[in-house]
Symmetry: C2
Subunit: 345 residues, 2 copies
């Protein structure tokens, strides 16, 4: 094979893998990166060290690829997919290999090297979410992109190779098997019960209460009933909604409130707090039927433990902290944070 | 909830999770465990620190739970599943919770604290595989066990909490969704093509050659065409066979030869070499049709990289080393090992 990335699957039901040999040259985090922040490629003043920016929130009188930005989006310098190589081709059932044609972007969420998403104000988080939405919309318009993954890695245990706060966006020429399976199961559930399965889950969580971590009029955050890792938290819009691209700005502000509260609570409860943030949203094209059945969500997944051969082999997870206990601890952290704020006033 | 472990699933298509609160009390590895090997619970002389043994290969004149064993099997002291609590119940489509009724055993593979599986002679590895088979057979006879996972974790990055060489066996009251999906897809492939999908994969690997790492008359090891992690290696019987429980002893010796060569090659190529070994085999009950379609395999999965939010969210993996390059490096390591052995003679 050449060095062009490919997407492969061995068995018909197996997982897809992107084989991207050029990514092996990407930089790894220094042992104690805070000691030498001048070498961060994502900091203001180092704009020439990244690919040219494709989007930014920046002061009106500043030029692209110069300081003055609040949020900056650049193509990943070591992309898992490439955008310029034509048709990816069609999957086969056995030993499938298609071109890894797509998009791989980095969303630098703040100019401040030491500012974590959990430390941002709700209005700053809302700006970040609005940029996710804008880039998701842009990626969806690309010819071969069939689904888009938006995610953040924070901390090495969560797979981060850069410490400066950033998210990533990957536009894929496939719909991942797991997302398709969830959509199919949701459509099947709706056919039988006439309701969205996630709407039913939300109703259940709100009624039971013991898993709820935070909520407002539009969103609810609860400890996932079957977490893959301890403290896994799901945030969903209370009203049925299938596509993050279509979320109105007002709702992004409400989402930022709940996400900020969850991140602050996790940060207070867990030290260190490596985690992934994952957006599960509709693929680029979706039937009307699937739109009524599938419900988008954000997943916040702390990475305190390492999956073993059991998880890898069976796809079944083991956690030793119940979601109900996790939710209780996080509710307490939120209450303490409010109390501390009240006292300071 | 009480402290009894349960198996849960949130959405109809979602992953299962075992919630086992008591496991949180299990010991973690010391920072430098080699400094104080007397504290290993798995070493000879510490038999009273484990649960009473349920199986062992030991000298004829020695008593259970005393030294004199070569391989020793004990119930996991911090089990993810319990065996004494009756019917696990039936899964629901939404917010399913059944009892985590099953088996969780530890197979201590050698009395020697410092001996890794990769360092063992083929006849020693064959003994270890024979014990896997014996315990798999025993677990399959338990009332509520529907599938059995056999796996090893070596090194912290692979999820190991003990350093002394050991495998684990988990008997589950469910068939994991991933295994069932593979079986269904294999049955579908066989219906259309009249052949086993894995037999076709083996034929393809042997013809292409660039992925093959080691082989003998009965088994072939090749770099997985779509690895989840760099250097992921699959070992399969060349002739169609669905169930590790039924592998004859002669074939276990042939498997030990190939597995030993693969582990030695990986150990030579990778330092450190944290890895998981995973057995993918038939569930306890399987239709004749599925028996003809599903092919058991061993997966050797080095854990040099950490899955990020992309893998966690999409189920799609990214590797930056091609399987063909991995196979070439491992073939070279095997050739060097042979050369070194020849020179020493």
């Amino acid at each position: 094979m050449t060095d062009a990335p490919v997407i492969r699957r061995t068995l018909p039901s197996g997982p897809w893998t992107i084989v991207a040999p050029k990514r092996s040259t990407r930089p790894q985090p220094a042992a104690k990166p805070s000691e030498d922040p001048t070498h961060c490629h994502f900091c203001p003043g180092s704009e020439h060290e990244t690919e040219p920016e494709v989007y930014a929130l920046r002061a009106a009188d500043t030029k692209p690829d110069s300081p003055g930005w609040r949020i900056r989006v650049v193509p990943n310098k070591f992309p898992a997919l490439v955008s310029d190589a034509g048709d990816p081709g069609r999957p086969q059932s056995l030993y499938s290999e298609i071109g890894a044609i797509g998009i791989h972007e980095v969303i630098i969420e703040t100019p401040d090297h030491d500012r974590a998403l959990a430390e941002m104000r709700p209005d700053e988080i809302a700006d970040v979410l609005a940029v996710y939405r804008a880039r998701l919309q842009a990626a969806s318009r690309r010819r071969y992109v069939r689904s888009v993954a938006v995610f953040r890695n924070e901390g090495r245990a969560a797979g981060a190779s850069q410490l400066h706060a950033h998210a990533q966006l990957v536009g894929l020429p496939i719909v991942p098997a797991r997302l398709q399976a969830e959509i199919d199961a949701a459509v099947d559930y709706r056919r039988r019960r006439k309701r969205c399965v996630s709407c039913d889950a939300i109703k259940r969580e709100l009624k039971k209460g013991s898993g709820v971590i935070a909520e407002n009029a539009e969103f609810v955050a609860f400890a996932c009933f079957s977490p893959r890792f301890p403290y896994e938290t799901w945030i969903l819009p209370k009203a049925h909604h299938h596509d993050f691209r279509l979320v109105p700005l007002k709702h992004l502000c409400a989402l930022a409130d709940v996400l900020g509260a969850v991140l602050k609570a996790l940060r207070a409860a867990l030290d260190p707090f490596p985690y992934n943030l994952v957006l599960q949203t509709a693929p680029v094209q979706m039937s009307i039927r699937a739109q009524g059945a599938f419900h988008w969500r954000l997943e916040v997944v702390p990475r305190l433990t390492t999956g073993s051969g059991f998880e890898l082999g069976s796809g079944v997870f083991i956690v030793s902290l119940s979601p109900e206990d996790a939710a209780r601890r996080l509710r307490e952290a939120i209450a303490e944070h409010r109390e501390a704020k009240r006292v300071r006033r």
